[in-house]
Symmetry: C2
Subunit: 306 residues, 2 copies
């Protein structure tokens, strides 16, 4: 039983095991924030592999190897479940993670994102944007097709969105022009040359298949138009995680301890969340604050070696 | 003596030891191209640490650790000299590399770049652009000040240039707007708000302190104006490497072997260059071709593990 695993004793985060959340960097903090909001009585250990980010331009073999090493760290901390907040790792490394940690509840972001996209789309024309590795691996495309075999799917790698989100340039003309360049082929536009458009494809749903991309929601929305549904897997992943833990009787009771009760109202309180990174506590704090939606002090970030 | 070291025997690149060139990824291929052009009788082993790039957003400790591991690979291949083509690694890891490989001729890109900037500047107002880690570490600033104590120096981190160069978006409105946003404070502009400008600072020389940045030369030139001197450390590093090897009697004689003689005219012939990477031969070949200035076949790229 996963929750029979001993918790790393120095210093313990709680009497009840925390949920492990893993990402290549700070992008997954959007998923952590959604988890905190939906599961107010849970505690979390978040690991960002900042020494080796980004995963999105790396080969599948390397992403799998890095993801297993990162998951090992969280499992050694006694987590009762593992959420893979990184789209690239979810898309590429979930089979290997399942194989190694069969007994531990595992949740990626791809399946919840695909389910939400299928539920949101009326026309069955769904676009997916992600990193190079996510798009190349095809996991979103397969997960959507499995649920809706007649869906028409277009996937576009939007690598520069990652750098824009990290730099904090999420609004303004550069973000807008970048979104236009990546996405214009997905929407019908009078101005677009015919060669740019994909014959007859008009997305009614767009999956934001990278944790960085919700930061650029405004620019993406401007290009895609108001009628397109934007699917952000953070909220749907939090919901799916709740369902999974509930089904296995692993949710923490509301009265479990006073820390959780006190901080339940605060979505990502430092008392409920332990932050680990493989490099650069200061950069993690500075950039991560934008993703988590609250200030992070560098002293909150514990450096670990993989 | 460095050239007494045995060459890794399987398969040998040449009877005479090659020069090792190291970068975090493909950007250093611009330095390799300059080295190939200036040293037509030499052979080279280039290592790009593509599994862990980019170095430019990582902490000094991590960059030092990665650089030492990468250098170890090249030294085990019996190189007679080591060129650190990565600005971030040159700026941060050169002391540690010198300590470990004292006997081996070592060349970074920062000192040659600083020397070229001081030689080029008439006003002594020099701007440096680089990655976050290069700018934060201050190596260029120190190297320039040492040569010209009264120089006024402004350094700006231009992290997004890296992503633009990797994506191949080196021209057009997005590259131009990004250059404008990063660089406008370095040049006097009627349109710029006073708060943006650095009081009285007008750069007459700009150091392109990242191997990716020469790819954006056009956009940078547009913003900085025609009169500003752009210093690209690739050519100056190749020149400094030649001087260093000449002084130590390590240059390969022109008649050393027929392979070199045959390919001397071809700046970066596959017969003279062995390419190593830590991840993704296909991406290395695709993106690297732009930096090397000739096509690279994925089969040319040997994957190594650090």
């Amino acid at each position: 039983m996963p929750n029979d695993r001993p918790i790393d004793a120095r210093p313990p985060i709680a009497a009840h095991p925390p949920i492990g959340v893993f990402d290549s960097g700070v992008g997954g903090l959007t998923v952590l924030a959604a988890l905190c909001a939906r599961l107010p009585h849970e505690q979390f250990v978040y690991l960002g592999d900042t020494a080796r980010l980004p995963y999105g331009i790396k080969s599948a073999d390397t992403v799998v190897r890095y993801a297993l090493q990162a998951a090992d760290v969280l499992v050694r901390r006694g987590v009762k479940a593992l959420v893979i907040a990184c789209n690239t790792a979810s898309a590429v490394a979930l089979p290997a993670l399942t194989e190694r940690y069969g007994a531990l509840p595992l949740m990626g972001v791809v399946e919840p994102g695909a389910a939400a996209a299928v539920a949101a789309s009326r026309s069955g024309q769904i676009a997916v944007i992600g990193t190079e590795a996510t798009v190349r691996g095809g996991a979103y495309q397969r997960a959507i097709s499995r649920r809706q075999p007649h869906a028409r799917i277009r996937a576009v790698a939007c690598q520069l969105f990652v750098a824009l989100a990290e730099e904090g340039w999420t609004e303004g003309p550069i973000a807008r022009a970048t979104a236009e360049r990546y996405l214009s082929a997905l929407v019908p536009r009078a101005s677009a040359p015919a060669a740019d458009a994909v014959a007859g494809f008009v997305a009614d749903t767009l999956v934001l298949g990278c944790t960085h991309f919700p930061m650029l929601r405004g620019a993406i929305r401007e290009v895609m138009g108001e009628s397109v549904r934007l699917v952000d897997s953070a909220a749907t992943t939090a919901e799916a995680t709740q369902v999974l833990l509930q089904a296995q009787g692993l949710l923490r009771p509301a009265s479990a301890d006073s820390v959780a009760a006190r901080s339940a109202a605060c979505a990502s309180d430092a008392a409920r969340v332990r932050l680990l990174a493989t490099d650069g506590a200061e950069r993690f704090a500075a950039v991560g604050s934008r993703f988590l939606g609250r200030g992070i002090a560098p002293s909150e970030v514990e450096l670990v070696d993989l």
